[in-house]
């Protein structure tokens, strides 16, 4: 089985992230980028499926600036077989709608129009919209099977478990399908040094919008359905409220907790 995993190159969520003043998009200069942690689960799941079935290829696909090649490299070091990097200056500032268009066209091109299984993470750690998987499924005409905490590939079907607040659903869909996975599904592996050396020899295709038959006017900031109008740093946490115990400290504490709806 051949699997396409869509991954995103994001600013490190452990660092101070900000937007740039010029066009209210992510400031990529300010922080190091990396493969979104949430996408590592999708890469791991794809590798596990291919390994268990004893065959097939994992293609890792990203849309992003030149530096996004690092996200592909990490996935190849983990064990993915080949990479596709869609890179075009016109894509800068694209919203989820345009991103899903570019990804969907790239999936088609990478699979000669007939994908078997497309995997994604549940959301990116920067935009955290979580809508791209559903949008892509719609564009590709595939069943959308989202938020999988467990994934089984059967004969012509995929079955997932989706954990909700009150119940767990088991959902089955026919293949081909698009599945997004949560951070509960597996424990992503580290690359090994062997993987690092092997990754350098793996093929990575770089495609432009033109390669996908798309126009610059269909993507980017100008085509976006939503715009970031303004941004502000989250204010530092205000100092906590200090309760001095003068005999009724317990009551005051209970009052506070009750006001915050903890009690």
């Amino acid at each position: 089985m051949n699997i396409v995993v869509c991954v995103k190159y994001v600013p490190d969520s452990q660092s101070e992230r900000t937007f740039q003043e010029s066009d209210n998009t992510v400031d990529r200069e300010a922080t190091d980028g990396l493969l979104s942690e949430l996408d590592e689960y999708a890469v791991e799941e794809a590798l596990k499926i291919v390994e268990a079935r004893g065959g097939g290829e994992v293609t890792v696909l990203t849309v992003g600036p030149a530096a996004a090649a690092d996200a592909i490299k990490k996935a190849l070091q983990m064990g993915a077989h080949r990479g596709v990097h869609v890179q075009d200056d016109a894509i800068h500032g694209s919203d989820a709608v345009a991103t899903s268009l570019v990804l969907a066209e790239a999936v088609k091109k990478a699979t000669d129009g007939s994908p078997e299984l497309v995997l994604t993470g549940m959301a990116s750690t920067d935009g955290t919209m979580g809508v791209v998987p559903a949008m892509m499924a719609e564009r590709l005409g595939l069943p959308q099977v989202t938020y999988a905490s467990e994934l089984t590939v059967g004969d012509g079907t995929v079955t997932i478990r989706r954990d909700g607040d009150t119940a767990s659903e088991t959902v089955e869909a026919s293949l081909p399908a698009l599945v997004s996975v949560t951070d509960q599904i597996n424990e992503p592996r580290y690359p090994s040094f062997k993987g690092i050396m092997a990754a350098k020899k793996k093929p990575v295709d770089t495609w432009s919008l033109a390669d996908l038959g798309l126009e610059a006017s269909q993507v980017g900031l100008d085509a976006a359905w939503t715009t970031v109008v303004t941004f502000a740093q989250r204010p530092p946490r205000a100092q906590g409220q200090i309760v001095t115990d003068e005999g009724e400290g317990g009551a005051k504490l209970a009052e506070f907790l009750s006001a915050q709806k903890f009690l």
Partner: protein, 378 residues
């Protein structure tokens, strides 16, 4: 500067340190101080990632990485967890005789397990009455047909009781330093037993015990090198081992400096961060200078080794400079943290305790000075 490949490797090490080592180190070291705790799973994870076999040649299942890169990996590990970095260095030492002096058959049989991390090694050289004076060892290996029978007692053995094999030096003749031989003893050999773990000042996850050999039989095919070549093998291994300890000490010092610098930025007194006071800035500057010079000495020695040139003197200099730097920098880190540095709520006091041993093991710093002095007067 490392190659792209070397840089990727150092990045991988950082990631594993951040996710696997740092979250576990405080609790594991505390638990090991009073009970028994050994981070076997951490060594397995490092082995699986390929980090236990970097410097060995590719034909033996290693990765053929220069010592310069391997040592930077050791430094990274030490900045997160000193016991594990020392363990990596000790393990490398145990594989070194086989990789360097073993026959092709011995290498094919022994190295894959050693290098993949499936098997952990211990290095049995010191004895209760033979520490720095290796040639005075009394543990004896007596030839009996196609076997050796080993009898004696080894002291200060890291990984004892947890290791899968024991790279052991024993006397095969009474000819002083020329009468020693090197044997690889499997952990399940009959007659092998261990003392209680030493109660040490620090480095608690590096379990150290005595190892007793009570007529332990080992096939003669597990003798590495010729009879009588043991001393030369041990000294050659120690040259490389000293670089591992120098790199680990540098990482420990870097970890202490990072802690102190972070604290100096956060801790406020007299209305400003204490790092804004010159008194503390100068302390931090001297710590940085010590770490940087320590790193420079081990990298210099490593580059000589990688180029196939003599590096024995430079290895001794690196061990001396880096471990003295670690002692100074960790002491100053406690000072920078003030009273907090003296409590177990911060790792500064642990760093200080861990630094002390680096001036002692793998040849005391007095022995390093003897080695250096001998080279200077040669």
């Amino acid at each position: 500067m490392p190659s792209d490949e070397g840089q990727d490797l150092i990045d991988l090490t950082r990631e594993i340190c951040a996710k696997e080592l740092r979250p576990k180190v405080d609790e594991a070291e505390r638990a090991a101080a009073t009970g028994e705790s050994f981070p076997t799973e951490v060594f397995r994870a490092l082995g699986a990632a390929g980090l236990l076999s970097l410097p060995q040649p590719e034909e033996h299942g290693g990765y053929g990485q220069p010592y310069e890169v391997y040592l930077q990996v050791v430094e990274e590990i030490a900045s997160a967890w000193m016991s594990v970095a020392v363990g990596v260095s000790v393990h490398s030492l145990t594989a070194y005789p086989v990789a360097t002096f073993g026959t092709p058959e011995q290498q094919a049989a022994l190295l894959p397990g050693m290098l993949s991390g499936d098997q952990l090694g211990a290095y049995c050289l010191s004895e209760p009455l033979a520490g720095s004076d290796i040639a005075s060892m009394t543990t004896r290996a007596t030839r009996d047909g196609d076997q050796y029978v080993i009898r004696g007692r080894k002291a200060w053995i890291s990984h004892a009781g947890h290791a899968d094999y024991y790279t052991t030096f024993a006397r095969t003749s009474d000819d002083g330093g020329k009468g020693l031989s090197c044997l690889v003893v499997p952990a399940d050999a009959e007659g092998l037993s261990f003392g209680a773990p030493e109660r040490k000042m620090g480095l608690h996850c590096d379990t150290v015990r005595e190892v007793m050999f009570d007529d332990v039989r080992v096939d003669a095919g597990r003798r590495i090198g010729d009879e009588g070549q043991g001393m030369a093998i041990a000294l050659s291994a120690l040259d490389a081992g000293r670089l591992g300890i120098a790199a680990a000490a540098t990482g420990l010092a870097q970890g202490a400096l990072d802690l102190a610098a972070g604290y100096a930025t956060e801790r406020r007194q007299f209305g400003r961060a204490i790092g804004e006071f010159q008194g503390l800035q100068f302390l931090l500057a001297d710590m940085e200078a010590a770490v940087t010079s320590a790193r420079a000495t081990y990298l210099h020695a490593a580059r000589l080794k990688d180029a196939g040139r003599a590096f024995s003197k430079e290895a001794a200099v690196a061990k001396l400079v880096a471990t003295d730097a670690a002692m100074k920098v960790t002491t100053d880190a406690v000072q920078a943290l003030g009273g907090a540095g003296y409590t177990q709520d911060f790792p500064a006091e642990r760093f200080l305790r861990e630094a002390k041993i680096t001036q002692i093991f793998e040849g005391t710093n007095q022995i390093q000075r003897m080695v250096i002095g001998r080279h200077v007067l040669r």
